[in-house]
């Protein structure tokens, strides 16, 4: 009975682990919307994509960073938005790591678990 219960739980957790690990990459996207005074019947404004980071689990990563053009025509990084985006990337990476760790603690048999 104990084995049956344990095995069922392990199989269920293993399915989730497989789903997460099968996803070979993780994408983090940060959008902004312009807030305007609400108008009756007006649709909610479409959010604009500000930055994207794609992390591939084989080690590659690609980031599109937000920039704006100055009055002189030069391009500058929007540091505030970029910082926001980087925090989102950190949150997402840490979440995935901790989630997998929690799931692995279910999947692994008792006595073989990592501390």
């Amino acid at each position: 009975m104990a084995n049956e219960l344990e095995n069922s739980i392990r199989k269920a957790a293993q399915k989730i682990v497989d789903t997460i690990q099968d996803a070979g990459e993780m994408t983090v996207e940060t959008y902004y919307t312009e807030v305007k005074p609400p108008q009756a019947g007006a649709a909610e404004p479409e959010p604009n994509l500000a930055a994207t980071t794609k992390v591939e689990w084989d080690g590659d990563s690609k980031t599109t960073i937000p920039m704006h053009q100055t009055a002189e025509g030069a391009f500058e990084v929007d540091t505030a938005l970029l910082e926001l985006h980087q925090r989102n990337v950190t949150t997402a990476t840490e979440y995935r790591t901790r989630l997998l760790h929690s799931l692995m603690s279910i999947v692994q048999p008792r006595g073989k678990q990592a501390p």
Binding site: M1, A2, L5, E6, S8, I9, K11, A12, A13, K15, I16, T19, I20, A23, M26, T27, V28, E29, T30, Y31, Y32, T33, E34, V35, P47, A80, L84, R87, N88, V89, T91, A92, T93, Y95, R96, R98, L99, S102, L103, S105, I106, R110
Partner: protein, 263 residues
């Protein structure tokens, strides 16, 4: 702080911050958690308009969640110390060398449930164990199945395709983030937010995600505790019947902790 967790079917927080009452699926006991619900789970935090107060409320919730995680480890340790003592008339229990009359309230209630007695202050046992199982075996078994099914439903809910996290201040949207199971994140910021407001939303996102993790840890820990307890105490109904008592034990410890009583 108002924190609602909605999944499109039900809302509430059965085990405080990090869980919600999922709709109970009908039908037979199922171990399948592969099919997530269509509607994303929605975490919506509505903070007060006073920034310092809002930050303080979030700090309280973060502390509460951290204590819940620590409590899970403590609960497992305390259950490990429970040992059966053979006697002529009935089985009694002890923590180490201490007799069972010195047990703390959560342990006392746990053992009362496992022996089929009504816990103090309760008119009716909500799930039958031990003697109740012998008298009406199907009833105890079915109730244990329902408890387990409810737990599996909560797990199923927590693995829904994505979770939508919203932070509001006095009803005004501060930020909205969608996180998928695989870790994909999409965040929408309404323009013109201060650094402090942005930080509030990021703390809310972290809180929601840690709550999901805690739910998973609680699930794993309670099953492992039930298996260990059933084996060591040679419980007649096995781990499935011990599971509701273990869940109640954890819940009681959480309640004592939140009311700042000795646990």
């Amino acid at each position: 702080m108002e924190l609602n967790l909605c999944d499109g079917t039900a809302s509430g927080n059965a085990l405080d911050l990090w869980s919600s009452d999922a709709a109970t699926a009908s039908g037979a006991l199922s171990f399948d958690i592969a099919a997530p619900t269509d509607a994303p789970a929605l975490w919506q935090v509505n903070l007060p308009d006073d920034f310092a107060l809002a930050a303080s409320r979030l700090s309280d919730s973060e502390t509460s969640l951290q204590r819940s995680q620590q409590l899970l480890a403590a609960a497992a340790g305390r259950l490990e110390q429970l040992q059966p003592i053979a006697s002529d008339s009935a089985v009694s229990f002890a923590v180490g060398a201490e007799p069972d009359q010195d047990l703390l309230p959560p342990e006392r209630e746990l053992l009362a449930l496992l022996q089929g007695q009504t816990p103090p202050g309760e008119a009716q046992v909500s799930f039958g164990m031990g003697a109740d199982l012998a008298a009406a075996p199907m009833q105890g078994w079915e109730q244990a199945q329902q408890v387990f099914q409810s737990l599996m439903d909560k797990l199923r809910q927590s693995v829904a395709d994505s979770v939508l996290i919203e932070t509001r201040i006095a009803g005004r949207l501060l930020g909205r983030t969608v996180v998928s199971w695989a870790g994909d994140v999409q965040t929408v910021w309404p323009g013109g937010k201060t650094v402090e407001e942005v930080t509030l939303h990021q703390r809310t996102v972290a809180l929601a995600l840690k709550s999901r993790e805690t739910m998973l840890k609680m699930f794993a820990a309670s099953v492992q505790m039930a298996i260990s307890l059933a084996f060591r105490l040679a419980l007649p109904g096995g781990p499935l019947l011990a599971l509701p008592a273990v869940l109640r034990f954890i819940k009681q410890m959480l309640e004592l902790q939140s009311s700042r009583q000795p646990i």
